[in-house]
């Protein structure tokens, strides 16, 4: 209650509800056609009473909601769903199914869950199974540990808002191990509803000021549209820095500096966001690059937000994931005791692909203790993240060890998932680079490809006349012709005059081959039609 009074007194002047923006994920849309179910409704109920105005109208409602561009959501996915309905109704089309290569949903594309993970979670959901000898001892051990951390031994009890303590401790141990022994304190770990929730929380903490002093946040272009949407909602200033397509989407400090200098004219830049491995671009930043970014952040007094949800998804030869925290500490106390860093991770990607569980965490490093106290308060006045997601995160950071019964199977399954993705990454890159007019950077990591495509002037003109981004028109035609749903590059940001699309590499290999063929065919036809 005292916490609430603090907040009421305006120590955190938050203009927009916390609970909503925790869960922004811009591209997961399958907006079902809203059936009118006319049989169930009177016409009046459908339209509302005609002689009396509504209390809540487009004019009286929150205008911010109306203004936010939910970049990846939109006509593409709506149309994809419509087409699915049409196919169900027997409408003839040149294809028999819609292939949703737009969203990073591994399981929906056929990726198998990891057995061990599901065993532990089933045990947590229904603890009577702990008596079942079909479940291995190492799974039971972990389930018991998790349940001991839950109120009443149930994942249905609310947990402490920052997340179950023993799980946060396990996360801290995992980070230490991953980063070669650099210490991690569980008090700096916040379990969240996917990484998106934590990212939005940090943005809320950062954004303040008015006019020229309004907080600016640097984000990479192309970017994962959660950041732009959140910044619009929170009325933060978006500061774009461009990744270099010709250098495999590398990051150049000169570009960071250019972007920052320009931004200082009109806002107060306070944070730099970086996604590594990248989404949609798939690059895995080199160690040198990470050091450069850290140095830059120190020089310019920026808080670093490192989105590392794809940290296990690294495929290319010679590429290695370096956590920002590890690099920071290896740069010595001059940096490691100063640079404010927040790192994010999630259970939705990597080899797990468990999007539905909503597990995630952030680790905060070098935050001002009073600010951290505010963050903890902010988090503590709302409900905890879903406990099943917290449990899942515990399994992810506490996998079977050599000698344990499930070790062999677990390792095999994990390796198979990652090898499969690596193979598909290579296949995709090669295929696309054989398509005239396409230029596809290697998919070094993550789970997407973001090729640059060529759109003839005639098509560009037609699109512009129709008020559409040219790559959107391209993707829409692709969808209508082939049933393949992608996301136009305009949704992620790109250099003026260039066009891209984002496709996931998640479909099973045979289907992926089919998709790659069809896109090539379509592209050839498209170039011809608009030559």
């Amino acid at each position: 209650s005292h916490v609430l009074r603090w907040i009421v007194k305006g120590s955190l002047a938050l203009p927009i509800p916390i609970s909503l923006y925790l869960y922004i994920l811009c591209y997961t849309i399958s907006l079902q056609q809203r059936g009118t179910s006319a049989a169930n409704m009177s016409q009046k109920e459908v339209n509302g009473s005609s002689h009396r105005g509504k209390v809540l109208t487009l004019e009286t409602m929150n205008q911010n909601v109306r203004q936010v561009e939910y970049a990846v959501r939109g006509p593409m996915v709506l149309r994809a769903v419509q087409i699915e309905e049409e196919l169900k109704k027997g409408v003839k089309k040149p294809f028999t199914e819609v292939i949703k290569a737009n969203v990073g949903d591994a399981h929906a594309m056929g990726q198998k869950p990891i057995t061990f993970i599901r065993q532990v979670l089933a045990l947590c959901a229904y603890p009577a199974l702990l008596e079942d000898d079909k479940f291995p001892e190492d799974a039971k051990l972990r389930a018991r540990r998790i349940l001991d951390g839950c109120g009443g031994q149930s994942i249905g009890a609310y947990s402490a808002s920052q997340g179950i303590e023993c799980i946060r401790k396990d996360v801290a141990s995992y980070i230490e191990k991953r980063d070669g022994g650099i210490p991690s304190n569980h008090e700096n770990i916040y379990l969240s509803t996917g990484a998106s929730d934590a990212i939005v929380t940090m943005l809320k903490l950062l954004i303040c000021g008015e006019g020229r002093t309004r907080t600016g946040v640097m984000i990479s272009i192309p970017q994962y549209p959660l950041y732009s949407a959140a910044l619009t909602e929170l009325q933060g200033v978006q500061i774009n820095y461009y990744l270099d397509e010709d250098k495999c989407w590398g990051l150049d400090v000169g570009e960071l500096r250019r972007s920052l200098t320009a931004a200082r004219e009109h806002c107060n830049p306070r944070a730099l966001c970086i996604i590594n491995p990248g989404n949609p671009t798939g690059q895995v930043q080199s160690r040198q690059c990470i050091e450069d970014v850290i140095r830059f952040a120190k020089e310019e007094g920026l808080l670093l937000m490192a989105d590392e949800v794809y940290q296990d998804n690294v495929y290319a030869e010679g590429c290695v994931f370096h956590s920002f925290k590890k690099v920071l500490f290896e740069m010595g106390p001059e940096f490691s005791s100063v640079v404010e860093l927040v790192s994010f991770h999630s259970t939705s990607k990597c080899y797990m692909g468990e999007c539905g569980f909503r597990g995630g965490y952030m680790e905060v490093v070098n935050l001002d203790p009073e600010v951290k106290a505010q963050l903890t308060k902010l988090v503590s006045v709302r409900l905890c993240s879903p406990v099943s997601g917290q449990a899942l995160m515990d399994v992810v950071v506490n996998p079977p060890q050599p000698g344990e019964p499930s070790y062999a199977t677990f390792t095999k399954e994990r390796a198979a998932v990652l090898a499969d993705l690596a193979e598909k990454a290579k296949l995709t890159e090669e295929s696309f680079n054989n398509v005239p007019g396409f230029h596809c950077n290697p998919v070094q990591g993550a789970m997407y490809t973001f090729p640059r495509i060529t759109i003839p002037q005639k098509a560009i003109d037609q699109a512009k006349a129709a008020g559409q981004a040219p790559d959107q028109m391209y993707c829409m035609k692709l969808l209508e012709t082939t049933g393949i749903c992608l996301v136009p590059g305009s949704g992620f940001g790109q250099r003026e005059g260039t066009f891209h699309f984002r496709m996931t590499i998640l479909p099973p290999k045979e289907k992926l081959k089919y998709v790659l063929e069809k896109i090539a065919e379509f592209n050839a036809q498209f170039l011809q039609d608009y030559s």
Partner: protein, 438 residues
């Protein structure tokens, strides 16, 4: 560190599993089978569990790891819609107006988002009941809406009086633009269950004053009071006919967090919109479509709303479990009143529903005086209670009650043994407290 107790018992909030209530077996069996589908093929699980899990898995794309359809998987919304039509005896419900949420708090937050106008003056106001957890809670405060208190009648079982609503509205109009009335029925922490007449008065009131009506009906599943019945606002509204049934914009909120499910940690809930402007509803769709909801919560919700039928293998056991929970609650209330009646300086209105008790403390002047040096009297009482007995309850001042009356709130959704221990600690402390400050 030595203390006169071994463990803290926290009944300050409604968290049934943490205080000894057990999850429903069928629900957890279905969820476990969805998580680990090998269980569907084995004969370890009853047939109805396996069938349900199989059906649900097919609807969610084959794995609980998929992103769910962001307005709740269609089958979930259909389940909600069917449930509501059955519950409200034929008053139609359309799945197009149902939105799956993380729970009631989240649903309330979404509605607030739709209302607020940022810094545009005047701020919107929401008439909010006192005492309630929502008054002053972060969702409301952070949303930018103004919470306008209306006071429930602590002498008459915490009922709502329309006169009080009118007073609140008048005073609200001086400082903000009141746009919605928020009602909690069954009441929490008050335990009050509204009569149909009272609900009709509310509906008339919002109609005349042009307010939205938000009804939090989270505790609808278990009523304790003799002869008490839950009727939904939607049903009452429909049965009032025109002009009300066509005009009043109602949002009803419910979840799997309370009642016999108690699955707060799983995050499954829904809200239903009635009579909202269709273009506003499209915006609401857009807002919700940003959300990625945990599938497990939706599974729990689906089972709650689509319960077993007589004849199915798990039906009897399921009913027994619900019955047991009901009986536990009734027992806890009875015992609690027995204990309170034996104590001086503490009284409580009847509890007809909800999951809390909200006794009033008649504190001696000395205590009030001493407390005021540092803090609010009921907070003073509660912190001493915690320090001395390890029992954690919630002070009434946290729920918006003004100076002058003092209350504590304790959750009664606990195991029988836990309640005994709670009452033992409370009774012992209270007697001593009253003596020390007499």
């Amino acid at each position: 560190m030595k203390k006169p107790y071994n463990e803290v018992i926290d009944v300050s909030r409604d968290n049934p599993h943490a205080t000894g209530m057990k999850p429903m077996s069928f629900v957890r069996q279905v969820i476990a089978s969805c998580i680990y589908p090998e269980l569907i093929d084995s004969d370890k699980m009853p047939l109805d569990v396996r069938k349900r899990a199989k059906t649900l898995l097919e609807c969610i794309g084959g794995s609980v790891g998929c992103y769910s359809d962001t307005i709740g998987i269609p089958i979930m919304r259909d389940s909600v819609s069917d449930f509501l039509t059955r519950r409200d005896e034929g008053v139609p419900s359309a799945s197009g107006k149902i939105f799956i949420t993380h729970g009631s708090d989240h649903g309330f937050g979404l509605l607030l988002t739709m209302l607020v106008r940022g810094d545009r003056s005047p701020l919107v106001g929401v008439l909010t009941p006192v005492p309630s957890q929502d008054f002053g809670n972060a969702t409301l405060v952070a949303s930018g809406a103004t919470a306008v208190p209306y006071y429930l009648d602590g002498q008459q079982g915490w009922r709502l009086h329309t006169e009080e609503l009118q007073r609140a509205l008048r005073s609200a109009r001086e400082v903000c633009d009141p746009i919605a009335l928020y009602v909690i029925n069954p009441g929490d922490p008050t335990g009050h269950v509204q009569s149909r007449e009272s609900m009709e008065e509310i509906i008339r009131f919002v109609y005349e004053e042009k307010l939205l009506l938000f009804a939090n009906e989270d505790h609808q599943d278990i009523l304790i009071g003799e002869g008490c019945m839950f009727i939904s606002y939607k049903k009452v509204l429909a049965e009032m006919g025109s002009p009300f049934s066509d005009a009043v914009e109602l949002a009803s909120i419910h979840s799997a967090s309370k009642g016999f499910m108690g699955e707060g940690g799983l995050h499954g809930g829904y809200l239903e919109l009635v009579n909202f402007d269709p273009s506003v509803q499209i915006e609401f769709d857009r807002l919700i479509s940003l959300l990625v909801l945990p599938i497990i919560g939706q599974l729990a919700l689906e089972v709650m709303l689509n319960p077993l039928q007589p004849g199915e293998p798990s039906y009897e056991h399921y009913q027994e479990e619900i019955q047991h929970i009901r009986e536990t609650l009734v027992h806890n209330v009875t015992r609690a009143f027995e204990v309170l009646d034996s104590l001086p300086g503490i009284s409580c209105e009847p509890i007809n529903g909800g999951a809390s008790m909200f006794p009033r403390l008649h504190l001696p002047h000395t205590a009030i005086h001493q407390a005021k040096e540092e803090q609010l009297p009921d907070f003073f009482y509660c912190s001493r209670l915690l320090e001395q007995t390890g029992l954690c309850v919630c002070p009434g001042s946290d729920l918006g009650l003004p100076e002058g009356t003092y209350h504590i709130r304790l959750c009664i959704m606990t195991s029988v043994d836990t309640m005994e221990e709670v009452l033992r600690r409370l009774g012992k402390f209270h007697k001593q407290f009253m003596k020390d400050f007499s």
